[in-house]
């Protein structure tokens, strides 16, 4: 076996030009597949990343039994929320971990009433990660010390005809199902360019929510804000031992509509990816076929020297595998370089579309992600393709009569 490996290695360097062509083909196609993956993840981040921030962060920590509760956003206080935050801070992926009271209720004034999500937050801690705090268009964002203060969305402000300084009545359901009502002042308005989303949620300080919902010192949710979309599963795994006493779920569980939309689009894009792979595979097969037929005479010599067809097949298979490996490595290196460059520079879409002026939820600039996790997959795929592609011509070549093969021009 070692002998064949050495022979194969020497052979691929003897035909340097041919090897370069094959390696280049595999390398370039692999790198472009990686670029495709990286860009797709980048688009997901641009289109859904901000939505996840607005909807409530990457990972949610709740009290045990939260998910099975019949209510959608139950007032179920977390037993030791500060311990959860401490644990979360140990992961380098976590940008911030904040406490929330997340529940629903009604908001009304003389214009009418609307059902809304009411969220008590730690404003200072959330500011680094949350889009709402960064997109205040009028007034100011909350502070921890705020009592009689809410921040509402532009859509809600229009629907209820209120501005900064106006008052709204909130009705909500506290722990033990008591109905609670309070009239509060609007101190700030956030604008995401999406009326439907802005109408859905209003924010107040955690302390005020605790007093409104009769939950002194408590919270119902700890949100972990991550640096990168897509790292949720890894972070949950990493923190699992420390957060055993809580229900830890990612946005994938908590916002199922978003997950399914992304998943079904991802499935379609994956089908496209498989077809690209097929194109690359056909190309590799073609090159391998050519490479082997070019060497018919050499095969004749090997046969004349007494190598059995099986041994010749093995030799060519090894050569194919080695070339596949070289190509895949070159491709991954090149692909990662492409992605790294696009990850730094970004691709500015706002040049081609006015859409980003409509909504803050979609980024105008797309940064490719590194797709490092996909790299092994591509190395294996490229190698499998080149093994399969070299198997057929190798067998055919090996079966030739040495004398006839020797006469081949």
């Amino acid at each position: 076996m070692m002998l064949y490996l050495r022979l194969a290695w020497r052979n691929i360097w003897r035909h340097r030009r041919r090897t370069m062509i094959v390696v280049l083909a595999i390398g370039l196609t692999t790198s472009m597949m990686l670029l495709y993956q990286g860009l797709m993840a980048g688009f997901d981040q641009a289109i859904y990343g901000n939505a996840i921030k607005v909807l409530g962060g990457n990972i949610q920590v709740h009290a045990l039994g939260y998910a099975d509760h019949p209510d959608e956003r139950p007032m179920l206080p977390i037993a030791d929320d500060l311990a959860a935050i401490e644990a979360a801070a140990t992961s380098p992926q976590v940008l911030a971990a904040t406490r929330r009271i997340n529940t629903g209720g009604m908001v009304s004034n003389r214009q009418g009433a609307l059902a809304v999500g009411i969220v008590g937050i730690e404003p200072e801690a959330e500011l680094v990660a949350s889009l709402v705090g960064q997109r205040i268009s009028q007034g100011r964002f909350l502070t921890a010390a705020d009592g009689d203060a809410v921040v509402i969305g532009q859509g809600l402000a229009v629907a209820l005809e209120v501005g900064v300084g106006d008052r709204l009545t909130l009705v909500g359901r506290a722990t033990h199902n008591q109905m609670r009502q309070r009239t509060m002042t609007v101190v700030g308005i956030y604008d995401l360019g999406m009326a439907e989303i802005e109408k859905a949620t209003l924010y107040m300080s955690l302390a005020e929510a605790q007093s409104l919902y009769l939950a002194p010192g408590q919270s119902t949710e700890v949100v972990l804000w991550l640096r990168d979309l897509g790292q949720e599963a890894a972070v949950i795994r990493e923190l699992a031992p420390r957060l055993a006493a809580y229900e830890v779920t990612s946005w994938k569980v908590n916002f199922p509509e978003l997950t399914q939309t992304m998943a079904s689009k991802g499935a379609v894009m994956d089908v496209f990816g498989v077809i690209m792979l097929a194109i690359a595979g056909i190309g590799t097969l073609n090159l391998m076929l050519m490479a082997v037929y070019e060497r018919t005479r050499e095969i004749g010599v090997l046969g004349a020297l007494g190598l059995k067809p099986r041994q010749i097949t093995l030799l060519f298979l090894l050569e194919g595998t080695l070339m596949g490996l070289l190509g895949a490595l070159a491709g991954v290196a090149l692909g990662l370089a492409f992605n790294a460059i696009l990850g730094q520079v970004g691709y500015d879409f706002s040049l081609y579309t006015e859409m980003t002026s409509y909504t803050a939820l979609i980024d105008g600039r797309v940064y490719s992600t590194l797709a490092l996790d996909k790299a092994p997959q591509y190395i294996v795929t490229a190698m499998v393709i080149s093994i399969v592609a070299s198997l057929y011509p190798a067998r055919e070549a090996a079966r030739r009569e040495p004398a006839a093969a020797l006469h081949y021009v």
């Binding site: 035909h15 196609t29 860009l39 939505a51 003389r110 214009q111 009418g112 629907a159 439907e196 859409m355």
Partner: protein
């Protein structure tokens, strides 16, 4: 020239497998491009069509200050005597149907939860309500004089576990800012195959909606359907009056149209990647073929063929290859696109893109390939193949006859 064509054709025919595989790679590439274009265009069309059928109609006649995201019920924001106006509009030749609608925001009380919903008051007998009537899944359609019946969406019924005949409580905002509370009976369950819409829209007869929201004989807008949607501008011009404004579907779906340009820019990058992969595959096969045929090129050069002619020969070969490949791609892509356009791709019953990307999305996407996209992509595939074959052709043209004749590995 004819000679060259003949030689090129023979050159391709001599190594049929290679030609076929290269053409197949190119064909797959073209087919993939067509599929991608059809998918994206289909999604946009689907979304625009849903927008028109569910949110905008082809035209809307409404008060100047009306803001649809606010669902205002103040009298000055509403259309007076909507029946009269609708009847007038319906008389115009290009108009298929016109009927008043009233939108009010409300809250559905279900158990301990309150759910924000929109009340849609519509004329049950009008042809403008076809989409709901066709999508009736259980129970009965509304009667115009029904005083306590509503239709709810399938998605809402499933989420809240509601059935035909169940009673629900609705809080409805009214014109003077009060909130009216009333119990209703679910007469039927509809679906528009758009889960996000079905979850939040409750239908009731216009007369009842006017009564509960205290709008009197007023409506939010007149919903107009045309026989040909591209007549919208002309009809809008004919309808414009000092009192009301007329909005066309293009104005009302500006956002979807702007998303289309975003998707277009995004897909352009993916097209380039596909073209890049295809070109790499084709070029490498060609370069390999040029080296394999070194001896042949040497003979051609030795009998006096100029470098330029040799280059032309190889370019013609790639041209023929491109023709075969693109033709294969068109056939293959055509079949797939036809299949996707008629059968659709199922996305699942939870999709609720509205709000996140602002797209109204059905649970199924139907492909749609425009002639423009197809032409552009075919030309691009062709051009990229030809450009890419320049290098191997030049390689062949620059070979020294003597060295080439000695052939093989240099």
């Amino acid at each position: 020239m004819k000679e060259l064509l003949k030689i090129a054709y023979r050159g391709l025919g001599r190594n049929r497998r290679r030609t076929l595989l290269s053409a197949l790679a190119l064909g797959l590439g073209v087919a993939l491009l067509l599929m991608m274009a059809a998918f994206v265009e289909g999604e946009m069309r689907g979304s625009l069509e849903l927008g028109i059928r569910l949110e905008s109609g082809h035209l809307q006649v409404r008060a100047r200050d009306y803001d649809s995201s606010k669902a205002s019920l103040a009298w000055e924001d509403l259309v007076q005597s909507p029946d009269v106006i609708a009847a007038q509009v319906a008389k115009l030749a290009p108009v298929r149907a016109a009927a008043p609608r009233l939108y009010a925001s409300g809250i559905l009380l279900a158990g301990d939860e309150s759910l924000g919903v929109r009340i849609v008051g519509l004329d049950p007998d009008s042809a403008t309500t076809g989409i709901y009537r066709e999508g009736l899944r259980g129970g009965a359609w509304l009667a115009a004089d029904d005083r306590e019946g509503v239709l709810i969406g399938e998605a809402l019924a499933a989420k809240r576990n509601l059935n035909v005949g169940d009673r629900i409580t609705l809080l409805v905002n009214t014109s003077n800012g009060d909130v009216d509370e009333q119990r209703f009976v679910i007469r039927g369950i509809y679906t528009t195959n758009t889960p996000s819409y079905d979850q939040s829209n409750i239908l009731m007869p216009l007369a009842k909606a006017q009564a509960i929201s205290q709008a009197g004989n007023r409506a939010s807008l007149i919903w107009v359907m045309l026989d040909d949607m591209f007549q919208a501008e002309a009809v809008a011009a004919a309808l414009t009056s000092s009192q009301y404004e007329v909005k066309t579907w293009e104005q009302l779906n500006e956002f979807v149209l702007s998303i289309e340009s975003y998707s277009g820019a995004m897909m352009a990058v993916f097209y380039l990647i596909v073209l890049g992969i295809t070109a790499t595959v084709v070029v490498n096969a060609m370069v390999m073929a040029v080296f394999e045929r070194t001896r042949e090129i040497g003979v051609l050069a030795a009998i006096g063929m100029k470098g330029r002619r040799i280059m032309a020969l190889f370019l013609i070969e790639s041209f023929l290859l491109a023709v075969i490949g693109v033709a294969m791609g068109l056939v293959l892509g055509g079949i797939i696109v036809y299949w996707v356009s008629t059968r659709g791709v199922y996305l699942g019953d939870l999709v609720a893109d509205m709000g996140v990307t602002g797209l109204l999305m059905g649970d199924r996407i139907y492909g749609y390939l425009t002639a423009q996209d197809a032409t552009m992509l075919v030309i691009a595939a062709f051009a990229v193949t030809m450009l890419a074959s320049l290098y191997p052709a030049m390689l062949a043209a620059h070979m020294e006859p003597v060295q080439a004749l000695h052939g093989g590995e240099a």
